[in-house]
């Protein structure tokens, strides 16, 4: 086995050239791509993180809004319930009032009709009495006819 010094020199030169060539045309681009991918993954992770936060925030917001809507619905329901109760009470009350009023009216009517009838009867009786008196005065002949007459008129009155 000989030692050929020229091989050493050639190796050094060849290795140096190979290193430069690989660095320029092979490893440089490769490292660049790997670095770019690292950056890409970093970016994507950051994006994922931020969108996760955003999603959480909007989730919380929606939850709050849902809670709000629920409260409002409950309030509306409660209000409707009180309103309807009140209305029912009012209706019942007004119906009662109406009924009372009608009853009072009817009673008043009855009273006034009665009074009217009484007063009509009175005036009738008065008229009849006057007629009886005039007839009595007209005739005044005898006891007999008088008695007959009174009886007759009383009968008339009774029949009326």
């Amino acid at each position: 086995m000989d030692f050929t010094p020229s091989n050493t020199i050639i190796t050094i030169v060849a290795f140096g050239l190979l290193y430069l060539a690989l660095n320029k045309w092979a490893f440089g681009p490769l490292f660049g791509i790997m670095e770019k991918r690292r950056q890409l993954i970093l970016d994507q992770m950051n994006t994922a993180e931020s969108s996760r936060k955003q999603a959480e925030a909007s989730m919380a917001e929606q939850k709050a809004e849902l809670e709000q809507a629920r409260k409002e619905a409950y309030a509306i329901l409660e209000q409707a319930r009180t309103t309807s109760t009140k209305q029912a009470d009012e209706i019942v009350q007004s119906a009662k009032n109406e009924a009372n009023r009608l009853k009072d009216d009817a009673l008043k009517d009855i009273e006034s009709e009665k009074n009217k009838a009484i007063s009509a009867l009175r005036s009738e009786v008065g008229g009849i009495s006057v007629k009886i008196a005039s007839k009595i005065i007209e005739k005044q002949v005898d006891e007999k006819s008088q008695e007959q007459l009174v009886g007759q008129y009383l009968k008339e009155v009774g029949s009326k």
């Binding site: 050493t8 190796t11 140096g16 690989l22 092979a26 790997m34 890409l40």
Partner: protein, 254 residues
């Protein structure tokens, strides 16, 4: 053993097989890397791109095990070039061997009449081998690492780098200097010896003829494993050396 075609050109010896192997390794490494980064995509990587990214991640974590993670980035390309080049180089010698027989002296290949005479009238010339099965090549790689380590040490961490030669006491200076030179030496020898031994054993098994096929299968498999381990080891040790020279940790103070 095989002879390698060594040419003398302008007063220097050139090992054609090694040069050829280095070039082929470089080309394969480059083509593989280029294929992997064709149609790069951020969100829809191809299979090759996935593979290359896996290699990158692997080297990254390997380097990160020897130095703080934020200092890894500048050495990532170096680590990947090292491991890919060495791994492909290690595998290069495994699949086949190109041998030509020369029966006459060929002056420009350095085959002389004496050599032919001493080898029974013919010379086997191997045109193909792992570049890393040549000590000169692995020393070249180790030299690159050596220069890089000390350059980076001086540039980024001068005070502590220089101080470490006198660590723990000035008396240890010679030991530290020996260690400094032993590092690249072991680095190159380890890689060379592993791959060279593998190729020697392959040639030896080839001599067994057809009976050697089961051994060949087993050894080829093991050689792939060894090649991967050695490439990994070379890369890791390089990074550890760089880390030792450049990274100053606080707890070393006391």
């Amino acid at each position: 053993m095989h002879l390698f075609p060594i040419v003398n050109f302008m007063g220097f010896d050139f090992d054609l097989a090694a040069i050829f192997a280095i070039l082929v390794s470089c080309v394969i490494t480059f083509v593989v890397a280029r294929l992997a980064v064709r149609n790069l995509s951020v969100d829809n990587p191809s299979k090759m791109q996935n593979f290359m990214e896996w290699v990158t991640e692997f080297i990254h974590s390997t380097i990160a095990s020897s130095m703080p993670v934020h200092k890894v980035r500048p050495y990532l390309a170096l680590g990947m070039t090292l491991i890919m080049f060495i791994f492909i180089s290690n595998l290069l010698g495994l699949p086949f061997l190109v041998v030509t027989d020369a029966h006459h002296p060929i002056a420009w290949l350095g085959i002389t009449q004496e050599y032919l005479d001493s080898h029974g009238g013919s010379a086997h010339i191997a045109w193909w081998k792992s570049p890393t099965a040549d000590l000169a090549v692995t020393s070249g790689l180790a030299l690159v690492v050596f220069v890089l380590v000390h350059f980076l040490g001086l540039k980024t961490n001068r005070k502590h780098y220089l101080k470490h030669y006198l660590h723990p006491y000035p008396v240890f200076l010679p030991v530290n200097i020996i260690e400094t030179f032993a590092k690249p030496l072991t680095l190159s020898l380890r890689l060379f010896a592993n791959i060279y031994a593998g190729e020697v054993l392959i040639s030896t098994i080839l001599m067994m003829g057809f009976g050697g096929i089961p051994f060949m299968i087993a050894w080829q498999g093991f050689s792939i494993f060894v090649g991967a381990i050695q490439a990994f080891l070379f890369t890791v040790l390089t990074m550890v050396y760089i880390s030792q020279a450049t990274v100053h940790e606080e707890h070393e103070e006391h």
